[in-house]
Amino acid sequence: MDFNDSPQEAAFRAEARAWLEDNAERKGPGKVYRYKRGEPELIPAARAWEERKFEGGFSGIALPREYGGRGETRLQQIIFAEEEADYLIPPAVFSISHGMAVPTLLTYATEEQKQRYVPATLRGDEIWCQMFSEPAGGSDLAGLRTRSVRDGDADDADWIINGHKIWTSGAHYADMAILVTRSDPDAPKHKGLTYFFLDMKSPGIEVRPIRQISGYSNFNEVFMTDLRIPDAQRLGDVGQGWQVAITTLMNERVSSGVRPAPDFEDIFDLVRMTELENGPAIADGAIREKLADWYIKAQGVKLIRARLMTALSRGERPGPENSVSKLVSAFRRQEIAHFGMDLLDMGGGMVDPDLAPMRAMYQQALLDAPGGRIAAGSDEILRNIISERVLGLPPDIRVDKELPFDQLPSGR
């Protein structure tokens, strides 16, 4: 075993670091990035940073050269992200564009479309959002109801879209979108779907932000009313939308390695700065036991990532590492937030960043954590994925595979 980069990896890392040093400001004590999430100024800054990376040859590292990428490995892409995390740069707004939209376009779009959209996206000109989830769906992605209907009988007639999407990250600033619709409600659930891409400035789109518990609005609802999409913007065949969507989802990004706060190191810090009624908190056995449990989980997740990197460096496909890590990390974050507040006792409920330690990291995390256990694969869905795809256990009994979509029980 060897935790060092290979010579090639080390060379790339050095190159990345040198470029970053010239083009961005390194993080340091008290240095924070100037635009917070939710601020409108963030988007132009993110575009500018993406463009600068594109010029420097660091946008789309693992994407083909002929469409503006660098044509290298996913591992190098991760190495760059690791290094980038040490600099004050805009939080990623391009992850869906690079991780979902571009791979889907590369698989299903025409050559002309690829030339038109992929380089523009890598250059930061175009930001994509992904319109899959619907209010009635939840974890049941294929239960979507947004209707697509041909405007006429011609083989290349436009499509008219009506429906309602939800949990669309970035819809309020995105230029383009990928969209799955139901074109045939009489077909079984997974067989009547059709997939498109579209311009978010098209008439008939209304975006409404969703306010979360945490007070932030990372997600939107998108209402489509008589939205018109040319047939040329269909990706995959009519009725083949589920297969195209699977392509999109298989390309979900490998996490950048930026850890969600608070994690072990944070709670360890908080414990060590806390005095209890009977001495230092770090001397309390109950607290030590929790710290030990969180350490082995945090360390385990870090090491599972090292295994993933190893697999990628050999050109292997990622395994279930992300499902395991997400399941473990999302729940641990909620536990740590809960415990951190308890440690502060009667004052633990105060949310003012000037009063609560670490600028109210624990209080904010308590409100963020529930979403973390649901978004991008709920705990329950992840356990299903692990038990079915890794252990090979049978799927849940399905009542919705064969029936026409129209006739499925919906509780309504």
Partner: protein, 376 residues
């Protein structure tokens, strides 16, 4: 063996449920949540006083209903179920509790009738910021009847007319309790934002405020603990009520929300999650009921019963509130759905009289004492 509330108490519960469903529906709670300027629902508070709830445990001679702790617990459970945004716990469990326990006859005559009528609101000020308040950490002090120091967060400190304050007698003195008029000179109050904005809290600064002793000098810490013990029991009922509300919400949602062509409540991942919440809530309820009995009968093991109720109810409510959101999926973590109001309240209540860790530790200490003194 009759380990249950009486018929009269069931009637009281039905009345409370009906009244609160009507007067403290989620929309009313949300109105307080979304309005930073409002400390509580004033109309609701006055009506609760009119119904006699505020004076439940105050003897009739002081204008109260003269009922016992069990009756208070019946009301508390319903308050917890509906999240009713009022200073009930501060004024009734803590301030009234403190006066009944330690007040002189004159103090009782002065305060209790107004408390019973809801005309004056009391609160209790112990914490001094982040971290554990304990017998040697308190800095607020009283010299020659004049108080100096800072307390935060004080639940209902902005709504209250007076506070019961734990402070040192002199610069190095023992801890004692004091009554302080919060509208008097030398008192400054600022609202403090809390994890649950439906329950208002304040920072209170005392700069030469007049302070009147409550209870014997030097008894401050033991009185505080005794007041907290008694308050912990109705508080546990609020937590049980909240946990039950979360379980009811989650169950209802799981029955009616369909995914994969079936109600999500037909998946064992959801069924067993809700079964676990039911079990935790039943264990908490059983411990809370025993606390109610101990409260009404001034049982010698009231402190143990209180600690057990508090620990069990805090865990049940936090679990139920957390997994209610999880059961609701994406909608669960939106501002628009009510799940988060319970999640916030659950966390606030589990910190209110000191965190979970401390109550567990206290429970074991009490069991050690009980066992070594041969009781059981």
């Amino acid at each position: 063996m009759n380990f249950d509330f009486s018929e009269e108490q069931y009637l009281l519960r039905d009345q409370a449920k009906k009244f609160l469903n009507d007067r403290a529906p989620p929309a009313a709670v949300r109105a307080v949540l979304e309005d930073d300027a409002t400390s509580h629902d004033h109309g609701l508070w006055q009506d609760m006083a009119r119904l006699g709830w505020v004076g439940t445990t105050i003897p009739e001679e002081y204008g109260g209903a003269g009922l016992n702790g069990e009756d208070l617990c019946v009301i508390a459970e319903e308050l917890g179920r509906t999240l009713a945004p009022t200073p009930f716990s501060s004024s009734v469990y803590l301030a009234t509790g403190a006066l009944l326990m330690a007040g002189s006859e004159r103090q009782k005559q002065d305060y209790l009738p107004d408390l019973a009528a809801g005309a004056r609101i009391g609160c209790m000020a112990v914490a001094e910021g982040i971290g554990v308040a304990h017998a040697t950490s308190i800095q607020t002090s009283v010299n020659d009847g004049v108080m100096t120091g800072k307390k935060l967060p004080v639940a209902d400190g902005d709504a209250a007319d007076f506070a019961i304050v734990l402070a040192k007698q002199g610069a190095v003195g023992d801890l004692s309790l004091f009554l302080v008029d919060l509208d008097g000179d030398g008192v400054h109050r600022t609202p403090v934002a809390m994890i649950d904005p439906t329950r208002s809290h304040a920072e209170i600064t005392f700069e030469g405020a007049a302070a009147e002793p409550l209870g014997a000098p030097g008894d401050g810490w033991s009185l505080t603990q005794a007041i907290f013990d008694r308050a912990a029991i109705p508080m546990a009922f609020e937590q049980v009520g909240g946990a039950q509300a979360c379980l009811d919400m989650a169950t209802e949602y799981a029955k009616n929300r369909f995914a994969f062509g079936r109600a999500i409540g037909s998946f064992q991942a959801i069924k067993h999650k809700l079964a676990d919440i039911y079990v935790a809530t039943e264990l908490a309820r059983a411990n809370a009921y025993y606390g109610a009995w101990a409260l009404a009968n001034d049982a010698p093991d009231l402190p143990t019963a209180a600690a057990a109720a508090r620990v069990a109810a805090g865990e049940a409510y936090n679990l139920a509130a957390r997994e209610n959101i999880q059961t609701h999926g994406g909608m669960g973590f939106t501002w628009e759905f009510d799940c988060h109001m319970y999640y916030r309240r659950a966390k606030l209540l589990s910190l209110a009289l000191g965190g979970e860790r401390r109550w567990k530790d206290r429970l074991v200490s009490l069991l050690e004492t009980r066992n070594s003194s041969g009781e059981e």
